[in-house]
Subunit: 192 residues, 2 copies
DNA sequence: TATTTACATGAACAAATGTTCATCTTTTTT
DNA sequence: AAAAAAGATGAACATTTGTTCATGTAAATA
């Protein structure tokens, strides 16, 4: 029940380890080794390997929901809403790239019933975004495209971004990233 | 050296199994069970679990390279080349969605030195696409965007598509999919 | 200071996993 | 029909893996 700084260090170190090796390939002994203590001690920090993954994933997933909800509730146009959603997505990715990487790559390792819960919540997020796309199409702000394809494409355009924050040494300018992705999603690559 | 139909059946069944459970989670016993024979017999079809993954991944990866190379060598404009690359990508995805799923999700399970080889070849593909984007920007056909971001975004817009072929019962019209994705990538979602 | 809580260890275990081997049967090739 | 190749089996193996337990020490709280 204590807000221990040791636990925070634990979670940070292990997060990077899991990202590097993959969840399945990361053993409890790997974790202990990286933290310079013995295997058994890992269980003073977490209940099980599975619960560790659950902690990470549901926490970051919640953050995405917390970011999109107030945008949906606002009185902005669909176009403005989409723009704000993109910005919030990029901001979270910039702040927590490792967790975002887990969200994209390791959710399959959840087990039932947590897996189903996760998939449902992700679907809920997609539906929220799809609602904005649908509204935009109906109001003539967006092209009359297949909204499911459009929604998935927008999401895909955002989901790869964490890689740039992890694999590059260069400090990225979030405002510039935002501008680039917003342009691509709204206007496409063609000049005219 | 024989073109055995049994080997083909083996590869098809196992491909779907690996996609469903994930490579790491799929055990040799799982494989044997799905094929209605005993574990030891699996080794009459393959050398090892690792080599199985390698077979799938390098085979489908080769197909993507075979598709993009003649397009690059043609005398089309950058815009036309990009359009053709998108179409070829969608065609391969439609024909081999399970392998495409492996390509996206399971390549991390390769081990050195195959892992490095795979990553280099994938990087080569990305560079080929990026060359087209760069040419398009230089010739004023495309917006003057960050070409790396644009390239990754285009790829991301295509990489999610296999899901629609696997998770949907509905027969998809590849021509229509093509039109939707091409529009999104070239023109974006905005109407004006 | 006394006591509870947090952090740490070594040993052990049961289950799971990839792989090998000797052997047998079926199918294909000569 | 004989020989060779392909397909199949059961038993066994050495490792690896997640987890538990009893016990000890350091730190925080009362």
């Amino acid at each position: 029940m204590k807000k221990s700084t040791k636990k925070e260090r634990f979670l940070t170190v292990v997060l990077k380890l899991i990202h590097k090796k993959g969840f399945k390939a990361t053993t409890m002994r790997d974790i202990a080794h990286d933290l310079n203590f013995e295997v058994a001690n890992v269980y003073n920090y977490i209940d099980s390997k599975q619960s560790l993954l659950e902690e990470y994933l549901f926490d970051i997933q919640d953050e995405f929901h917390s970011a999109i909800d107030p945008i949906l509730d606002s009185s902005h146009t669909a176009k403005e809403k989409l723009s704000l959603i993109i910005s919030s997505y990029i901001r979270i990715t910039a702040q927590r790239p490792y967790e975002q990487a887990l969200l994209v790559n390791e959710w399959r390792n959840l087990k039932e019933p947590k897996l189903q819960e996760f998939v449902e919540r992700r679907k809920a997020y997609e539906n929220k975004l799809q609602g904005v796309v649908t509204a935009g199409v109906e109001q003539g702000e967006f092209r009359s495209l297949n909204v499911e394809i459009a929604t998935q494409t927008i999401l895909a355009s955002l989901r790869w971004l964490y890689q740039r924050y992890l694999e590059t040494e260069v400090k990225l300018n979030p405002v510039e990233i935002d501008r680039q992705l917003t342009t691509l999603i709204f206007e496409g690559i063609s000049k005219n």
